[in-house]
């Protein structure tokens, strides 16, 4: 039982890191008012770029950096279309996902056979060996790859940046009321560009983590919908970094449970009252495919609940999300 929980937690942490990295980027971008549905595409480009770089140079850190960079390059396309050309953010984002998927499938098919030395599992310096000995959770949380620790560290940075730095607060202002922010002397265009680029960098990092640390191989389409879950996660977290931490681990736990659901039995014994009714329902709900819908359903419920319960002006969604901004002088 203990080893089962430890394994479950380990899988949770691994699944959560990908969502956390991609989700943080999307959160920053959306807080500045730009929805980017291209997460999946940016992640794939980051995953393939990072993988190829690591194969060629042998350095997984260099690969990680290239992954971030390529995510930003793709995000730049989105930024140019949505901010400069004022295009529809939804269309541009879907385009980005198609582009990233298409490019990586097209150019990545030759790299499937390659293998790499990716990020090794490690313990934290100095205190690591003691933390690993903590029962149950020690191995899961304190023997991880460098990118797992990095994701958690970055979450603190993102939280501090958004709520306690001038630049971050200006970014939030740009996402809430661009006209006002512009009047106050904040450059709406520059900040939105920055936010989208940071978002792309995070998505690229998430992809590179996937190919360099999580699975240590490249398969076309390897993100398998995680980019879309990251988009859902931002909504689930109501655009707040701290809730995102909870949400990422919750979605990660669901994913870990889904893979192991065959070995969990929650059905009641045949003699228990209503066993004939309860057991089929439990079996249906614990089916791995059905469990795959939970993050999406939870997000729809949270979104609907938030919209219905709160007045629209108190809603957590950035007020200027999806709105392009132009200075109208006439």
């Amino acid at each position: 039982m203990v080893s089962f929980i430890a394994g479950l937690l380990d899988a949770t942490v691994q699944a959560a890191t990908v969502l956390l990295l991609a989700g943080m980027g999307e959160l920053i971008s959306e807080r500045a008012g730009v929805l980017n549905l291209g997460v999946e595409g940016m992640m794939l480009v980051g995953a393939l770029g990072g993988f190829i770089t690591t194969v060629l140079t042998g350095s997984h850190w260099l690969g990680f950096g290239v992954g971030i960079l390529l995510g930003m390059v793709l995000a730049l396309v989105h930024a140019f279309l949505c901010i400069t050309l004022k295009s529809n953010q939804v269309i541009s984002g879907v385009m980005l996902t198609l582009l990233g998927t298409g490019l990586t499938t097209f150019f990545g098919s030759g790299w499937v056979e390659e293998s790499i030395d990716g990020f090794p599992q490690m313990t934290l310096p100095f205190v690591g060996q003691y933390l690993v000995d903590i029962p149950v959770i020690g191995e899961a949380f304190f023997r991880s790859t460098a990118t797992d620790y990095l994701a958690l560290g970055l979450l603190v940075v993102v939280w501090y940046f958004l709520y306690h730095s001038n630049l971050g607060l200006e970014m939030i202002a740009v996402g809430e009321d661009p006209e006002m922010a512009d009047t106050m002397g904040v450059s709406v265009f520059r900040l939105r560009y920055l936010a989208v680029l940071i978002g792309g960098g995070f998505a690229g990092a998430a992809g590179a983590h996937l190919s360099l640390a999580f699975s240590q191989l490249w398969v076309p389409g390897m993100t398998a919908g995680r980019g879309w879950i990251a988009v859902a996660l931002v909504i689930f977290a109501q655009w707040r970094p701290r809730r995102m931490l909870v949400g990422a681990y919750l979605f990660g736990l669901l994913d870990a449970l889904r893979i192991r659901s065959q070995s969990i039995s929650l059905t009641v014994g045949p003699d228990a009252p209503l066993a004939g009714v309860i057991n089929p329902i439990v079996e249906f709900l614990m089916n791995p495919q059905i469990m795959g819908t939970y993050p999406y359903l939870a997000t729809i419920l949270v979104l609907a609940y938030a919209v219905i319960r709160t007045k629209s002006d108190q809603l957590a969604v950035p007020s200027a999300l999806l709105q392009s901004y132009s200075r109208e002088t006439d």
């Binding site: 549905l37 279309l81 295009s87 385009m95 980005l96 198609l98 059905i290 997000t299 979104l303």
Partner: protein, 366 residues
């Protein structure tokens, strides 16, 4: 020397720009995708020749194109109609899957003669697709919950339910594959001509119905009015709630019919992952054809040629068919770029001599 870029809003769109845009878009996308072919050491001219000539001038190619066009046109309409009311349905994929599943279930479990069974499968599919689309529509119409996000998320729910059903209750056939039992003769959509199934007829009919609805009826006028100014429309006594629900539910039913056509007409059984994302291709289709239902049909046919040509190119040159995805993405990219040049006039002023005044505050770009 002082260079300044002026961006001004256009008052009206020149004719050459309005008609030239789709053509320019497609040509530009093909030209840029040629780079990807060159990188893989493939002669792009030969590859495109295979892609289009083999598709448009062979019997096989034409049959495949017309067959593929059915789901593409119908999902295109599923995005087009809500777009007219100012709503974004990016969940056509989910509606297609929900409808295809319901239609498949009827086709496998109800025994009726073919003349009654196939229409019943279409009705079942349309109802399921309509309900699937009705959820985001109701949430939007009643509580203003963003329909883009909910319709998208419901797509992934539908895909998960699809793989649950095809690995569980609906699994059939030999082996342990995620697929359903084969359809009986009665549940198969009959042939229309030369190997093209009658789903094509359904698709063309729906295009005509949509065209008539949008151009000849009061309801179509209401949809366009709500789409261009929902507050004014409501003050004029129109029901935004009703229009929102209607366009989405009808759109979902269209997508669902596309799904069941493909399965009962072309595939013969439901296979998990039977379709390469028609519901997402529907977005560029609806954008290319946003002015009229017949243009949606043309755009659907064009993407069908791309899909079919992509596979023949894959066979002939060993190039991944993913090139089609790249072309699709680039079509959208150039389309929205062209959209900008349609609504803004961009001029470049070059003045000789030293800059006397600091650059004018520029509008629109930074």
């Amino acid at each position: 020397m002082n260079v300044a870029v002026n961006v001004d809003a256009r008052e009206d769109i020149p004719v050459w720009l309005a008609y030239g845009t789709p053509v320019f878009t497609v040509l530009a996308a093909l030209a840029v995708s040629a780079i990807a072919l060159v990188v893989l050491d493939v002669n792009p001219v030969a590859a495109y020749a295979t892609m289009f000539v083999d598709t448009l001038f062979t019997e096989f190619g034409l049959r495949e194109t017309l067959t593929k066009a059915v789901p593409l046109i119908l999902t295109g309409l599923a995005v087009y109609l809500p777009l007219k009311a100012g709503l974004f349905n990016i969940g056509a994929e989910g509606q297609l899957v929900a409808g295809a599943l319901a239609g498949t279930w009827v086709g496998l479990n109800v025994s009726l003669p073919g003349l009654a069974l196939v229409p019943l499968m279409f009705v079942a599919a349309a109802v399921a697709g309509g309900i699937w689309a009705g959820i985001p529509a109701y949430l939007r119409a009643r509580w203003d919950v963003n329909e883009i996000i909910t319709s998208l998320l419901l797509t992934f729910v539908a895909l998960a339910i699809q793989s649950y059903l095809l690995r569980g209750p609906m699994q059939g056939g030999t082996g342990n594959f995620p697929q359903s039992e084969r359809f009986s003769e009665a549940a198969t959509i009959p042939e229309l001509f030369g190997g093209v199934h009658a789903g094509l007829l359904v698709a063309v009919c729906m295009v005509v119905v949509t065209y008539v609805l949008m151009t000849k009826t009061r309801l179509g006028f209401e949809i366009t009015f709500v789409g261009s100014n929902d507050e004014a429309a409501q003050q004029a006594g129109m029901s935004k709630f009703y229009v929102y629900l209607l366009v989405f539910v009808v759109g979902g039913a269209f997508a669902a019919m596309g799904g069941i056509s493909e399965i009962a007409g072309a595939q013969g059984r439901y296979r998990a992952g039977f379709e390469p994302g028609y519901g997402f291709t529907a977005i560029p289709i609806a954008l290319l054809g946003r002015n009229s239902a017949f243009k949606v049909m043309l755009a659907g046919l064009f993407f069908a040629v791309l899909f079919v040509g992509g596979s023949s190119m894959e066979v002939a040159f060993g190039v991944p068919a993913a090139l089609v995805e790249i072309i699709q993405a680039l079509v959208i990219l150039f389309l929205i770029t062209a959209e900008f040049f349609k609504s803004y006039r961009v001029g470049i002023d070059v003045k000789r001599g030293p800059a006397e005044t600091p650059a004018q505050p520029q509008r629109g770009d930074d």
